[in-house]
C-alpha cells in the first residue's frame, strides 16, 4: 500500500499544473472558449509538445505508456483549471479504440496525427433511446456490395465540431454491435453543432451514407471488450477531473467565506457555515479516495474493474453535486453569476454526472453485483 507518487509522476503533476496555471486562468479560459475553432489551439499543441497527448497510449502505439495514476494526475489538473479542451472525448477514448481496433493504414492516417496534436476525434454513441448504454443503438449498418450503408441519428456527440473523424456505433444485421470510422467530410453526414452548458463543443448528427468495407473497425465481442476498457478509462478519468474541480470549488468557497463580511464579521466565523464547509471538504476527501480506487482498478479483471469504477463514478456523481450546490449557496447571489468563476466549476461538476453514465446508472451496476464481488 503506497499513496506516494513516483518522481516521474511528481514531475508530470508539476508540469500539467504549471501549464494549467499559466495558460488557463479564468480570463484566458474565456478567450480559449471564444476563439475555439475547428483547428487545434496553441494550448493543445503545447500539450503535444509536452508529451501529454501521448501519455495514455502504449509505447507500441507511439505513446508514453502512462498508467491510471498518470491519467488521474492529468485529469485532476485539467479539472482544476476547467480546461476547455477535449482531452477525454477528443483524444483518450477514441484514441484508445483506434489503438486497439484499427489496421495499420488507419492508424497511420488517424492515430499518429492524433498523438501529435494535428487533429482530434470523437466517439458518436448517444442516441435518444439508448440513454447511457452503448451496446443497443438504433443506428444500423447494412451490407451494400463490398461496403456498408450506415443510417442513424446520434445526439450530443461531445467534441464532434472539432473532430476530423468520428467513431460511430451501429447495429449490424444479425444484431451484433459494430464501430465505424467516418471522416467528417463524408457525403451523407448532416450536423448541428452547439455548445453545452459546461462549455463543451458537441453536435447532433444524422448519418445516411455509403462506407467502404474497411470503415468497420470491429464488431461483436472484441468490440465490446475494447469499449469496456475505453469506457472504464474514461470513467476513471472523469472521477479524477471531478476531484480537481471539487478542489477548486472548495478552495474558492473557503476564500470567499474568509473575506466576505456580514454583520461586522467574516462569514467564516459563522459555525453553521464552518460546518457546511467541513461537509464539502469531507465529500472532497472521500471523492479523492474513490478516484484513487478507480485509477488503481483499471488493470483488474473486467468484472472487478467495472464494479469498482461504477462505485467510484456513482459516489463521485453525488459528491460533486453536493460540492457544486453548496459552493453556489455559500457564495450567495454572487454564486449565481456568470462572472463568478465558482459558478463554472459548479456547472461542470453537475454535468460531469451526465457523462459515461450517471450515479443512478452506476449504482445499478453496484446493486447488480452486490453479492458477487468482494
Amino acid at each position: 500500500m503506497d499513496f506516494s507518487l513516483s518522481d516521474e509522476q511528481r514531475m508530470l503533476d508539476e508540469t500539467v499544473t504549471r501549464l494549467v496555471t499559466d495558460r488557463c486562468n479564468p480570463e484566458q479560459r474565456r478567450t480559449l472558449i471564444q476563439e475555439r475553432g475547428t483547428a487545434s489551439s496553441s494550448l493543445w499543441h503545447t500539450f503535444a509538445e509536452l508529451g501529454l497527448l501521448a501519455m495514455p497510449f502504449s509505447e507500441e502505439d507511439g505513446g508514453l505508456g502512462g498508467d491510471g495514476i498518470d491519467q488521474m494526475l492529468i485529469m485532476q489538473a485539467l479539472g482544476r483549471g476547467l480546461v476547455p479542451e477535449a482531452y477525454l472525448d477528443g483524444l483518450m477514448i477514441p484514441g484508445m479504440l483506434l489503438a486497439k481496433l484499427a489496421d495499420d493504414s488507419q492508424r497511420e492516417r488517424w492515430l499518429t496525427p492524433l498523438l501529435e496534436g494535428e487533429h482530434q476525434l470523437a466517439l458518436a454513441w448517444h442516441e435518444t433511446t439508448s440513454r447511457y448504454d452503448i451496446d443497443t443503438p438504433e443506428s444500423h449498418a447494412k451490407r451494400r456490395g463490398e461496403g456498408w450503408h450506415l443510417q442513424g441519428r446520434k445526439r450530443v456527440v461531445i467534441n464532434a465540431p472539432r473532430a476530423a473523424a468520428l467513431l460511430v456505433t451501429a447495429g449490424l444485421d444479425g444484431g451484433a454491435l459494430g464501430l465505424f470510422l467516418v471522416p467528417v467530410d463524408s457525403d451523407g453526414l448532416q450536423r448541428r453543432d452547439y455548445t453545452t452548458l459546461d462549455d463543451q463543443r458537441a453536435s447532433d448528427l444524422d448519418f445516411d451514407m455509403a462506407l467502404p468495407a474497411s470503415a468497420l473497425l470491429a464488431s461483436g465481442d472484441s468490440l465490446l471488450a475494447a469499449l469496456g476498457e475505453a469506457l472504464a478509462q474514461g470513467r476513471a478519468a472523469l472521477c479524477a477531473e471531478a476531484v480537481g474541480a471539487m478542489e477548486m470549488a472548495c478552495e474558492q468557497t473557503l476564500e470567499y467565506l474568509k473575506e466576505r463580511q456580514q454583520f461586522g464579521a467574516p462569514l467564516s466565523r459563522q459555525q453553521a457555515l464552518q460546518h457546511r464547509m467541513v461537509d464539502m471538504h469531507l465529500h472532497l476527501e472521500q471523492a479523492r479516495s474513490m478516484a484513487i480506487l478507480a485509477a488503481t482498478s483499471l488493470t483488474l479483471p473486467d468484472e472487478q474493474r467495472d464494479y469498482r469504477i461504477a462505485a467510484a463514478k456513482a459516489y463521485i456523481g453525488e459528491a460533486a453535486q453536493f460540492v457544486a450546490e453548496q459552493a453556489i449557496q455559500l457564495h450567495g447571489g454572487m454564486g449565481m453569476t456568470e462572472e463568478c468563476h465558482v459558478a463554472h466549476y459548479a456547472k461542470r461538476l453537475i454535468l460531469l454526472d451526465h457523462a459515461l453514465g450517471d450515479r443512478d446508472y452506476h449504482l445499478e451496476t453496484v446493486m447488480a453485483h452486490l453479492d458477487s464481488v468482494a
Binding site: 503506497d2 495514476i69 473557503l254 466565523r269 464552518q274 461537509d279 469531507l282 472521500q286 479516495s289 488503481t296
Partner: protein, 398 residues
C-alpha cells in the same frame, strides 16, 4: 501508488486469523456475534489470551511490552478481530491511561502500573466527563485540594463506561481554581476502593448498564498518584485524545456490520423473496457499500501517512465523522431489515444471562438495542459537531 497490502502484511493477516481461529473462546465469540453484553470475567479471559500472545498492547513501545506493529498492522489486527467476533479490548487501561503513564509518568508509576495493565490485574475506568462538562471538557469542576501528601477530591464524574467493574480510575480534577480554564487541571490515578467513592449505574435507552456516575466525596488520593506536574493534566488529556486515533473510523466494525446487514437481508423474506433482492432496500445497502469503500481508502491514506511518519491529526476527525455516520446508518438498516422482529426486548439475553431464545429470536435480538446504542458514536470522543469545529479550525483555518 497502489492499494495492495505487502506480502508481509498478508502473512501477518494470516497469522492473526490463525490465532483468532485457535484461541478465541467459542462462548465469547457467540456472545459478541449476537450482540450480548460480556461480563468482566469474559473480558478478562479474552484479554489474558491476547496478553499471553503478546498482542494486548499494540500501541505501546516495544520496551514496555508493545508489539512494534506498524499502523497498517494494527489496522489489520483490528479488522480481523472485528471479522472474527472477538471482543473489543476494554481501552481504558491499555489504550488510554497506559500511554499517558508511559509519556508523563514517574519510573515508579511505570514499574507499578504497566505490568498490572498487561496482566489484566487492574480494571481502569475514565473520570473525565461531568454533568456540566461533556464535549467542553475543560469546564470540569471536580476539585482536588492539597492536604499534606494527599489531595482531597470532591466532585462528580459521569458516563463512566464499565466503571462498575473498575478498581482504578484516571481522573481529571481541578487543583488550582484560580487558574484559567485549561490550566489548573491535574491528572490523578484513583483507587476505586478508597473511602468516599460511590458508583451509580446509568441505564441507557437500549436497556443496558454500560455507563455509570461516579461520586467523589472527600476522597483522599496520594500526591504520588498524580501523573505529570500539578496543573499539567490538560496536556495529558490532550495527548490521550490524539494518541492512537488511526482506528477511529471503526472500519473493521463497519465492515463487519455491513456483512451482518447483508446476511440479515438475505435471511429476511419480503413478498416471497429475500429482502436483499427488493430494489429499494438493495439500493440502500449499495449506498452503504459505496461509503464503506470510500472510507476504507481514506483510512488507508491516513494509515500510510502515519506509517511514513506523519502524525494523524485533524484527518482523524474526518474519519470519526464519516465512520460514525456509516456505522449508525448500517445499524439503522439492520434494524429495519428485521421488520416486526426488531421489536422484542429480551433484556436477559442482551445482558448475557439467558440462552433460551430460538434461532430467529437470537438473530434479531440485538438489532434495535444496537441501533440505539450506536447513537453514542456521534456523541462520545468529542461530538461530531466538535470534530467539525476542529476541522474548520485546523484544516480550513476558519
Amino acid at each position: 501508488m497502489n492499494l495492495q497490502f505487502t506480502p508481509e502484511e498478508n502473512t501477518f493477516r494470516e497469522e492473526v486469523r490463525a490465532f483468532l481461529a485457535d484461541k478465541l473462546p467459542a462462548d465469547i465469540q457467540r456472545k459478541v456475534r449476537f450482540g450480548q453484553q460480556l461480563n468482566a470475567e469474559e473480558h478478562v479471559r479474552w484479554q489474558n489470551l491476547l496478553s499471553e500472545r503478546g498482542w494486548l498492547a499494540p500501541g505501546w513501545p516495544v520496551e514496555h511490552g508493545g508489539t512494534g506493529w506498524s499502523p497498517v498492522e494494527k489496522h489489520i489486527f483490528e479488522e480481523e478481530c472485528a471479522a472474527a467476533h472477538a471482543p473489543t479490548v476494554v481501552p481504558f487501561g491499555v489504550n488510554m491511561v497506559a500511554p499517558v503513564i508511559i509519556r508523563f509518568g514517574s519510573e515508579e508509576q511505570k514499574r507499578h502500573y504497566l505490568p498490572r495493565i498487561l496482566g489484566n490485574d487492574d480494571w481502569w475506568c475514565q473520570g473525565y466527563s461531568e454533568p456540566g462538562a461533556g464535549s467542553d471538557l475543560a469546564s470540569l469542576k471536580t476539585r482536588a485540594e492539597r492536604d499534606g501528601d494527599h489531595y482531597i477530591v470532591n466532585g462528580q464524574k459521569t458516563w463512566t463506561t464499565l466503571g462498575q467493574h473498575a478498581n482504578m480510575m484516571f481522573c481529571l480534577a481541578r487543583t488550582d481554581p484560580q487558574a484559567k480554564k485549561q490550566a489548573g487541571i491535574s491528572f490523578l490515578l484513583i483507587d476505586m476502593n478508597t473511602r468516599g467513592i460511590s458508583v451509580r449505574p446509568i441505564i441507557t435507552l437500549d436497556g443496558a448498564h454500560e455507563v455509570n456516575e461516579v461520586f467523589l466525596d472527600n476522597v483522599r488520593v496520594p500526591v504520588a498518584n498524580r501523573v505529570g506536574e500539578e496543573g499539567e493534566g490538560w496536556t495529558c488529556a490532550k495527548f490521550l485524545l490524539t494518541h492512537e486515533r488511526t482506528g477511529i473510523a471503526g472500519l473493521g466494525h463497519a465492515k463487519q456490520a455491513l456483512r451482518h446487514l447483508k446476511s440479515v437481508a438475505r435471511r429476511q423474506t419480503h413478498r416471497g423473496r429475500p429482502l436483499i433482492q427488493a430494489p429499494s432496500f438493495r439500493e440502500q445497502i449499495a449506498r452503504s457499500e459505496l461509503e464503506l469503500m470510500a472510507l476504507e481508502v481514506t483510512n488507508l491514506r491516513v494509515l500510510a501517512a502515519a506509517r511514513d511518519g506523519g502524525a494523524p491529526g485533524a484527518e482523524s476527525s474526518l474519519l470519526k465523522i464519516r465512520g460514525s455516520e456509516l456505522r449508525q446508518r448500517l445499524s439503522d438498516l439492520t434494524r429495519r431489515a428485521l421488520g416486526p422482529q426488531a421489536l422484542p426486548f429480551f433484556a436477559d439475553f442482551l445482558a448475557g444471562d439467558d440462552d433460551t431464545l430460538d434461532d430467529d429470536q437470537t438473530f434479531a435480538a440485538a438489532a434495535t438495542a444496537q441501533y440505539l446504542n450506536r447513537r453514542k458514536l456521534s456523541i462520545y470522543g468529542g461530538a461530531n459537531e466538535i470534530q467539525k469545529n476542529i476541522v474548520a479550525k485546523t484544516i480550513l483555518g476558519m
